[in-house]
């Protein structure tokens, strides 16, 4: 605050004579008003306004201004000379957008001045339909960016990877900055979200409030965010108000979600015949007479509604926008729902004769969620299909269960419970909240107009709380002879994150040397405080379960980042551009001697189009070469304090007794004070091109990223530390790839336009070292890809030197002459007569190498339609449902009869050999082509005699998937767990539904 006052006190209000320019911008095609067009004095990026809903604008300009630049994404940019009267400007769609302003780190830039790999996706390009988390709107739209939803659950988060991520065990989630507030993306291990009780932390941001996403990919673009930019940066900009008349926009969408496909299991008849032929008489006698499809029982057709109202306009010099949204989305798993109420407010006043621009953003949301018990999904695939859903008794909620009169509870031990009972008797309900807000002041010094001071103060607070409750008759938690049954366990976690940033920027045209300079220097302070509350456990009746009192009522985790940063841009003659950035970051997560690190970058761009030999070549509308290099850092995904030695007290249920005294024990934690920043060096070369008046445009980038000092969870020599594994800086890894992006407008006429956009990314990941002693051949690699089956589980993947991370590591299956796998027979790699770990081989990668996205849109008069296709190639999935349940042992080798995967009918595996789980038979090519979205919309235009504009849209999401993979869905996110997660392991995924939606939009 002191700083703010400091700026406000400087200078006095004086300025030269100014003129006020008014005008209106329309679409050349149909004369409809264009809102949101940026209007700026030519060459002066620091001034300007945007048009309001009827296309009108008012701008005060200095005496020297001769031209105004009009720009908007999708229409491009045009310069127009100032006239005497109001300016009436008609823009045409699809032309060059090089002058368009894009949001970059700490400021904005004209697209044509960019030297880094930056992609902007705005509202017009967003994926359409029922979207509960904003990142899904840009899936398939940005080369180099993979966005995979983690499940079909409403509000489920996504795994976002920019250029494959740069880290192995630390965090590969990109830094997300919302209107200048960097969010905490460091999901605690074992949690699904930064905010418990919420499927995803980003779900609190209403997609309808978002204006654009800017994706910063190479180091020259991201290095200004040094500390946390190694995995890339996504800047989310929310919508702002305009000027003039108040404008209302009402959207309402309703959707129906349906299950596309069930996991193939034996039908009741098939099950009966397999059991009759193979099981013991005692087992056969346990079969029932029903014929139940358990998957039919647990899934439903789900409805959703999403209503949004926004009010925007300007009161004098106070542009504002207020929006409220309500979403009610049911999951296709019964009992599952997400209800969300959100609100957003932005104010962008300009004070002191345009010298002080203020931006205030506030957004918040309340969610009310019931998470369907995902355990029911696995239970439904294995529950005996000959048993009925309901018993005739009221016991266990009336659900049929496996009983055993010899046990105290009357329930059979160690068997799956009724899938529908697992859902209906289980209430994991939560009411998380989040608010993100900031105030940003941009002050243009009165005595030096080229100098700006910018101060940004913001917060991100959230409160994730809920209960996991089961009823007192739920079989899942049934206890005999206890003071109670069921459970009622509260949970709560709060995040209080604050950011304060200030920078000075100076921009100057130097016409005598045909140059422009732009320098910036600043400071950033980010604090992240997470408080995890610990509670005792309770029975459903509220009685505390004995010995569950936690050792501490809460655990506060806090970390702080402090940074100094600077950036210089220099351009010469509109042809040569140079950007250099430097950032010095300090993180509280490292010991003082390793705390600070410098992250520099430099980039050059050559605007070839502006060279004399091309200026008159009409076929080429733009051509720019970019070269960049930079370093970025990583400190997420590691402990906040474990560079220092500390002790924590055990719970009273893990105590020890000396005589009559019960003592909780102090355990020292492993610590490692030598830990340093993980660093990623990125080289990038790119070419931006546009031909035929930019009817064909796009870019191509090649990059090479090398990460060193990998934050890697490695073994410590036994006895040398309190923990056998510690995150240390061991190893290195590279990612190299090509991104290609092509936009094309085959038809451009008054009535009909057809746009096509295509992008492809190829990324190759390779681990180059993982051990303290480099390339220790005795070290096989870092295991990953946890699979279910057996007890204690195993892993099916390895990240080893020389190959990509998450490579399947399995036994090579032997097949008979008929092509059938022979059970338990594997290739003896080392010919020692035994099949053991040394016979595992590095097989296919779980992560795709190639991603493609294809978007097309056709507009014919008032009708528009389009679709989005997305594809990943070169990835493999491990079918854990087949391997775990596709055998006879699954059916008859458990305490009760279980249903098996239909794969059993193919293999007839008996399932007696545990090594079968590690057969490469279970991996298959999971390359796919998915139509994410298809839509059609009609714009009725202004309704009779009113200013009310009506549009309706209809669409389908998740339309089809073409793949050879035989499981439910080839696309498996890496999960939200930090580090390796379980990419490519297909096991009881919450199915992604097909969604039909119908929406209407009223503007008035």
């Amino acid at each position: 605050m002191q700083i703010l006052l400091f700026f406000l006190c400087i200078g006095s209000a004086l300025s030269a004579q100014k003129r006020t320019i008014t005008g209106r911008v329309t679409d050349v095609k149909d004369g409809s008003p264009l809102a949101g067009v940026s209007v700026q004095p030519k060459g002066d990026l620091k001034n300007g306004t945007v048009t309001n809903s009827d296309g009108s604008f008012t701008l005060s300009v200095g005496p020297n201004v001769k031209f105004l630049t009009f720009s908007i994404i999708g229409y491009g940019s045009e310069d127009h000379a100032l006239g005497s009267g109001p300016m009436l400007i008609a823009l045409s769609q699809g032309t060059s957008n090089l002058n368009e302003i894009v949001v970059i780190g700490y400021g904005t830039a004209r697209k044509k001045d960019l030297t880094g790999a930056v992609t902007v996706v705005d509202e017009k390009q967003f994926q359409k339909g029922t979207i509960t988390t904003p990142e899904q709107m840009i899936a398939g739209k940005v080369p180099g960016v993979s966005i995979i939803s983690n499940s079909g659950e409403p509000g489920a988060g996504s795994t976002i990877r920019i250029r494959g991520g740069s880290s192995l065990s630390a965090n590969n989630n990109p830094l997300i900055v919302v209107d200048g507030v960097p969010l905490n993306n460091d999901v605690l291990k074992g949690q699904n979200s930064v905010i418990p009780g919420a499927g995803s932390a980003l779900s609190f941001i209403n997609p309808n409030d978002i204006e654009s996403f800017t994706v910063l990919k190479d180091a020259s673009a991201t290095a200004i965010y040094g500390a946390r930019a190694a995995a890339g940066v996504i800047i989310i900009t929310t919508k702002k108000g305009g000027s003039g008349r108040v404008k209302f926009s009402l959207t309402s969408a309703n959707s129906v979600s349906t299950l596309i496909k069930q996991v193939p299991v034996l039908s009741a008849a098939q099950f009966r015949s397999v059991v009759d032929a193979n099981a013991t008489a005692a087992q056969i006698a346990t079969m029932g007479s029903a014929s139940t499809s358990w998957q039919d029982q647990i899934f439903q057709t789900a409805f959703g509604t999403n209503d949004n109202l926004s009010i925007s306009g300007g009161i004098k010099k106070l542009p504002y926008r207020i929006s409220v949204g309500y979403q009610d989305q049911n999951g296709i798993l019964k009992t599952d729902y997400l209800k969300k109420t959100s609100a957003a407010l932005t104010l962008s006043p300009v004070l002191f004769d345009n010298h002080l621009k203020i931006d205030v953003h506030l957004l918040g949301a309340l969610e009310s969620t019931r998470f369907g018990n995902n355990a029911a999904i696995g239970a439904a695939t294995s529950f005996d299909p000959t048993q009925p859903v309901y018993s005739k008794s009221a016991r266990f909620g009336g659900y049929w269960e496996y009983l055993d009169p010899t046990t105290a509870t009357g329930l059979k031990a160690l068997v799956t419970r009724n899938p529908l009972g697992l859902l209906e008797e289980h209430y994991n309900t939560s009411s998380p909240k989040r608010s993100i807000g900031n105030i940003q002041l941009d002050y243009k010094f009165h005595w030096l107009q080229d100098l700006h001071a910018n101060v940004n103060a913001g917060y991100d607070v959230s409160d994730g709380q809920g209960h996991t409750r089961t009823t007192d008759s739920a079989a899942e938690t049934y206890v005999a002879n206890a003071p109670g049954n069921g459970e009622n366990n509260p949970y709560k976690l709060t995040n209080t994150n604050t950011v304060f940033e200030a920078y000075l920027s100076y921009a100057k045209d130097l016409p005598r040397i045909k140059s422009h300079v732009d320098i910036l220097g600043g400071y950033s302070f980010n604090n992240y405080l997470t408080t995890l509350y610990n509670y005792a456990q309770y029975y459903a009746n509220g009685v505390m379960i004995p010995s569950t009192t936690p050792a501490a009522p809460s655990d506060k985790q806090e970390h702080t980042l402090i940074s100094y940063f600077g950036r210089a841009n220099f351009s010469y003659n509109e042809r040569y551009l140079l950007t250099a950035t430097l950032r010095d970051d300090g993180s509280s997560r490292f010991a003082p001697q390793n705390r600070w690190a410098l992250f520099p970058s430099a980039a050059l761009a050559w605007n070839i189009k502006n060279e004399s030999f091309l200026t008159n070549v009409d076929a080429v509308s733009q051509l720019k070469l970019r070269l960049g290099y930079g370093l970025t850092g990583q400190q997420d995904g590691i402990g906040n304090y474990d560079y220092l030695a500390y002790y924590s007290l055990s719970d009273s249920s893990a105590a020890y007794i000396f005589g009559d005294n019960v003592y909780q024990g102090y355990r020292p934690a492993g610590f490692y004070s030598a830990r340093r920043w993980e660093q990623t060096a990125t080289s990038n070369a790119g070419l931006d091109y546009g031909f035929l008046n930019n009817r064909i445009y796009g870019s191509i980038d090649v990059y090479y990223k090398k990460t060193t000092n990998l934050l890697n969870n490695v073994t410590q020599p036994a006895g040398s530390n309190f923990s056998a594994y510690i995150v240390a800086n061991v190893g290195s890894m590279t990612n190299q790839g090509i991104e290609f992006n092509l936009g094309f407008q085959p038809i451009r006429s008054k009535d009909l336009t057809w746009d096509v956009a295509f992008n492809v990314t190829y990324n190759k990941n390779k681990i180059t070292n993982l051990t303290v002693i480099p390339n220790d051949t005795a070290y096989p690699g870092l295991p990953g890809g946890t699979i279910a089956g057996g007890i204690g589980g195993g892993t099916a993947e390895i990240s080893a030197v020389g190959g990509p991370k998450n490579t399947f590591y399995l036994y090579r299956q032997v097949y008979n002459a008929g092509g059938q796998p022979i059970e338990g027979v594997f290739v003896d790699k080392n010919n020692d007569g035994d099949i053991n770990q040394s016979d595992l081989y590095k097989s296919k990668p779980a992560d795709p190498q190639t991603f493609l996205g294809f978007t097309t849109n056709v507009t014919w008069r008032r009708l528009n339609a389009g679709f989005v296709l997305r594809s990943s190639l070169g990835m493999y999935d491990y079918n854990n449902i087949w391997s775990q349940t596709g055998n006879l042992n699954q059916i008859k080798g458990n305490p009760a009869l279980y249903n098996a995967s239909a794969n059993y009918l193919t293999t007839h595996f008996r399932g007696v050999n545990a090594q079968n789980l590690l057969s490469d038979y279970y991996i298959s090519n999971a390359s796919f082509l998915r139509m994410d979205n298809i839509y059609i919309g009609y714009n009725f235009g202004a309704l009779q005699h009113t200013r009310t504009n009506l549009r309706i849209t209809a669409g389908v999401q998740n339309v089809f998937v073409i793949t050879k993979y035989k499981g439910l869905d080839p696309e498996i996110g890496a999960g939200t767990d930090n580090g390796l997660g379980n990419p490519g392991i297909d096991n009881n995924l919450y199915p992604r539904p097909r969604v039909f939606n119908l929406g209407l939009n009223l503007d008035f």
């Binding site: 506060k556 509280s588 355990r667 036994a718 006895g719 040398s720 056998a724 589980g793």
Partner: protein, 534 residues
């Protein structure tokens, strides 16, 4: 004008620099060593963890906040000391097999074909070292110098000194375990600061000397006299009992027999007033913490305060097919069974003659026709979570998961066996008649002092002693060590079902007398050399 800009920047920078102290963040729920070791309570609590690390798997009852990283053992319930130790000492022998082939590390144990990358072997190794680092930490913080100036009362100082001796004993115990299982482990002690060094490997013979001197040192200076310490804490008799075991196996560890020394320490324990608890079937029950006549040193388990899925919880749930009404817990895990070769060492499996034959036969076949079938082979209900009156365990958790049975790491019955064996093997300081009397006393208890249980002097042979040790000490984690001492572990002298992976049993490579050093430690510690053959 430029001066003003610089002035502004300078002012701003100074303000910002003041904030860098915010980079010093401290955990809220945890404290430093200086805090822990500043109060008598802190010492009690630090010592509690030194002991609890034997019993628990982590800092939360059941599972949660595991001591060992999941990379070593994915299933926390498998990561406590006793379950791991039991698996290595018993599953590798005629006494036990486990049904769940796909449990991490199980494959290869009973078949004696384990590799240097086995979750159970790795787990025990890292569990032992975890306990050793805790002992080292306590010992380093309880030196006279460390205690000086803290203002503790002399009673407190005495307690801490006793704790320190106990920590030395517990560390020596773990080094003995490592010496017995791995031969030549790395060596660390309290003088080496955490995170600053790479341990060196110690030879089995040198480690023998170290363990011996530590046990004698702890027993002679600091450990409390037998029966005088608080229940749950080690006393001199615990150190003597380990010394007796150490000397009995000295031939294996060092190539030099020390049977006379074994007898010396057996005699010390016998003189300390221990006796056989009256009824064998009450040795391993929920109230066996009261068996202070027989039990020398226990690992504690408690349904309320010391909960986990290993320990004696494993030993009540693990055996196949035992009904809840017998085991006293909520359901069998259908895992542990015994080979017919072991069962045949009893005159009859019903327990009618030798009551130690506590075998469950219903639904089980005597022959272990299949290694990984839960009904193949009899199981035992030696461990039952009920009291000696047959009542429900009063400390049991409501769900009936956790056991309250203490596990005697040393009990007096073994001392009689150690004594007799050392005498028969030629040790001096004891005599054959006394030895015979001790063995007949054990057998008398086993037979309820009825029937023909006594043996004569000519029957007291080494093979008889090995079988008697099996009958008396089965499921008490002695079997592998015993079979090695008698040369029957890897050789063809004694075969049991599925030894070497074949139904009839077969001899295996002698390398299996030692477990391999985990490959994870070999990659982390360049000072280590693998045991021969692996």
């Amino acid at each position: 004008m430029n001066i003003k800009i610089f002035a502004a920047i300078t002012a701003l920078s100074m303000l910002m620099a003041a904030c860098t102290k915010d980079l010093n963040r401290q955990p809220s729920d945890a404290i430093t060593a200086a805090d822990v070791y500043s109060t008598p309570l802190g010492y009690n609590q630090a010592m509690a963890k030194v002991y609890a690390a034997f019993a628990n798997t982590g800092n939360v009852g059941g599972t949660g906040s595991a001591d060992l990283p999941s990379q070593i053992i994915a299933d926390e319930g498998n990561s406590d000391f006793l379950r791991l130790y039991f698996n290595l000492q018993e599953l590798t022998t005629d006494e036990a097999a486990w049904s769940w082939e796909s449990d991490a590390g199980i494959q290869g144990l009973h078949e004696m074909s384990w590799s240097s990358n086995n979750a159970i072997i790795d787990g025990l190794y890292y569990r032992s070292f975890f306990q050793i680092t805790l002992c080292n930490d306590f010992i380093a913080h309880s030196t006279d110098a460390a205690l000086a100036g803290k203002g503790f009362s002399s009673a407190t100082v005495d307690t801490i000194k006793a704790y320190r001796a106990e920590a030395r004993f517990l560390r020596a115990y773990q080094y003995w375990v490592l010496m017995d299982l791995f031969g030549n482990p790395p060596y660390v002690d309290e003088t080496m600061a955490i995170g600053t060094f790479i341990p060196k490997q110690i030879s089995r013979a040198d480690l023998f000397k170290y363990v011996e001197s530590e046990l004698i040192g702890a027993a002679d200076s600091g450990l409390i006299a037998p029966h005088q310490n608080q229940l749950g804490r080690a006393d001199q008799a615990a150190a003597w009992a380990l010394l007796a075991r150490l000397y009995l196996n000295a031939q294996v560890y060092t190539g030099t027999a020390r049977y006379t020394d074994a007898i010396t320490y057996c005699n010390k324990i016998i003189a300390a007033g221990y006796s056989l608890h009256k009824d064998y079937s009450t040795l391993m029950l929920a109230d066996n913490r009261n068996n202070t006549d027989e039990n020398i040193f226990d690992i504690e388990y408690d349904g309320k305060y010391i909960q986990n899925y290993g320990g004696t919880t494993y030993l009540i749930h693990g055996p196949a097919a035992i009904p809840d009404s017998v085991s006293g817990c909520n359901g069998s895990w259908s895992g542990l069974r015994m080979t017919q070769d072991f069962i045949s060492k009893f005159p009859d499996p019903s327990g009618a003659t030798d009551h130690r034959a506590e075998f469950w036969t219903t639904g089980q076949t005597v022959d272990m026709t299949s290694l990984y079938t839960s009904t193949a082979g009899l199981s035992t209900f030696k461990y039952r979570d009920v009291t000696s009156t047959g009542a429900k365990d009063p400390d049991q958790d409501p769900a009936g998961n956790y056991s309250s049975i203490y596990f005697p790491l040393f009990r007096f019955g073994e001392i009689y066996l150690d004594y007799a064996e050392a005498v028969v093997r030629g040790g001096s300081g004891g005599d054959a008649n006394t030895a015979l009397g001790y063995i007949n006393a054990l057998r008398g208890r086993a037979y309820g002092d009825s029937g023909t249980y006594t043996i004569n002097a000519s029957q007291l042979t080494l093979p008889f002693i090995l079988d008697e040790r099996g009958r008396e000490m089965y499921y008490e984690c002695c079997r592998r060590t015993d079979l090695i001492r008698f040369g029957e572990f890897t050789t063809g002298t004694y075969l049991w079902a599925w030894k070497g992976g074949v139904l009839g049993g077969t001899a295996v490579d002698d390398k299996y007398n030692l477990f391999p050093i985990p490959t994870t430690d070999l990659s982390a510690n360049p000072n280590l050399k693998q045991n021969p053959g692996y």
